[in-house]
Structures are given as structure tokens and as C-alpha cells.
Amino acid sequence: MANTVIGSTIVIDGEITGDEDLVVQGTVKGRVSLRENILVEESGVLEANVETSTITINGTVTGDIQASERAELKSNCRVVGDIRAPRILIADGASFKGNVDMDG
């Protein structure tokens, strides 16, 4: 099954919903609501409130993140916003500003 990919030159202004994995190399503004995995690549910019199962961030996210399973902040990522997830991983080198809620 083909993953959904937002390419590096693409800008989506609006809302993305679905039940499929999403790879963000470009820019998404608005709201993202998935039941699967989100991968934000190094070139990816997410200016949105995110609801998902798991999210892995290598790029930039501005907005609140709510993950039902896991949120992972890799090194070199930049995140501004609140994170709410049962499991939160923050790698060495990651930049993060916001609240963390691990109550699930």
C-alpha cells in the first residue's frame, strides 16, 4: 500500500484526516488527524494540531500533539507545543518547548 507522502515543495493549508501512515517532507498547516503513524522528515514542517497514534519528528512541529501511543522527538528536531502521550521519547539534541502530559 502506498504511503501518503507530502513532498518537500508541497504546502497543504487545511485539514488532513485518515487512517493511513503519513510522511511529511513539505509543509502542512492546519490540522492533522490520523489513526496511524506520522513521520515528519528533516525538511518537514508541521504547523498544526496533531492527533495520531504515533508520531516521529525529525523536522519542525509547531502545535499541540496528542498521540494515543507514542511521541518520539529525534535529535535536530524542533517542537513548540504541548505533547500528550503515554510514552514520550526525547533524543539528545532535540529542541522542545511546551508541556508534557504522560497520563495517557
Binding site: G7, I12, D13, T56
Partner: protein, 237 residues
Amino acid sequence: MAARQHAPSAPTGDGITIIGEGIHVNGRITGEEDLRVEGRVEGAISLTETVHVARSGVVVATIEARDVVVDGVVVGNVSATNSVSLEPGAKLVGDISAPRLIIADGAAFRGNVAMTEGGESAARNRAAGGRSKSATRARPASGASRAASTPSARATPRATAASRKAERSVTPRVAAIRPPKGAQNVDEEVTVVVRHAALSESEQSEASSDKAAKKKAKKAPPRGRVPKRGKRSVNRR
């Protein structure tokens, strides 16, 4: 556990965006790369490259792109700078504006079509190619006439005033007779040719020398009162 699994590895295809079957995008998509829609998009799509709506794709949006290929469902106006192609699975409701429109058998379409200018420029350029070729073909001819005029200019000091007058009309003939040779020694030959030409010219134009006139007079039978051809009177003796 699903939680253990990492997010999907990034697909290799660089420069292509895919909206997967399970995805619903509501908003505006802009960019400079190919977009393949297998899911659902509502709002607007504006790209500089190709939009491909797959058979499972549903687009309720205005589409602007260079090329638009539709094999799914599109509701909205489609405007392309190059081409719009409706594949057999296409269902399109909306207006199409593009220089080129291809509709395959099986496609369903309702709306207006405006075939704008711009897509045929390549074909037009191809047609104009022949004209420039003929222009280059004409150039050698003008070069030859220039070459012919040069030796005649060299010959002018030797030519008489009378021959100079004739020279103008003779020059093309010189060019035709003169065998192609190197730049050296052309001078003499050309001079001879010009002199001959001048002689014949002067005979015809009555500006002949006395010798030629006497010869003609001797040969001409005296009985005729009618002037010889090219002479004004018979009483030249």
C-alpha cells in the same frame, strides 16, 4: 506491538507527493512537484507540475497545474498550462481550460472546454524551421555576385570609358563564364573577358571604332538604300 514499530520509512521517490487511499485532505494544496491523489481532496490544488488523480481518487476542488491526468473522480474546474487527459476511468464534472485535451474512450465528462493558446508553440516552431533553411540557401547566391563584382572592379583601370558603360550589363555574364579559380592570376583572365564583352557591346550600341565601321561598310552591299541593321544611315562611306 504497533507502538514498537517505527513510523514508516520514507519512500524513495523524490519529488512526488502521494495522497493515499485512506487520507482525506480538506484545504489548499500548493507546490512544485507531482501530486498523485489516491484518496480524497477537497478545496484547491495548485501545482507547477502534474496532478494525477488515480482511479480511487476523489477530488472536489479547483485544479491548476501544468498537466492534469484524471482516472478517478473530479468535481471542479480544471485548468492546465499544458494538457488535460481524461483516462477511461475518469468522471469529471466541471470546466476544462487547457491548450491540449485528451479524452479517452470510457471517460465521463460534463462541462465546458476552452482550448487556450500556448500548447501549440512547439509545433509552430517546427513549421517555421523550413523557412530559415531557405534563407540560408539564398545566401551563397549573393556571395557569388559579390565575388563577381570584385574582379570587375580590379579591371576598371584597363577598361575604357565605353567599356565601363558596358561593363555593368556584362558583369553577370563574366561571372557565368569565368571558371572557378584561385585568387591569383584571375586579374588577367577577367580583363580579357571584359574587353571582349565590351567590344561586342559597342558593336551593338553603335559606339564602334572606325575600323569596325569600315569593315561593316565594305561587306555591306551598296545597292540597298536601307540602312544596315543597327545603323542610322547608309552614307557612311
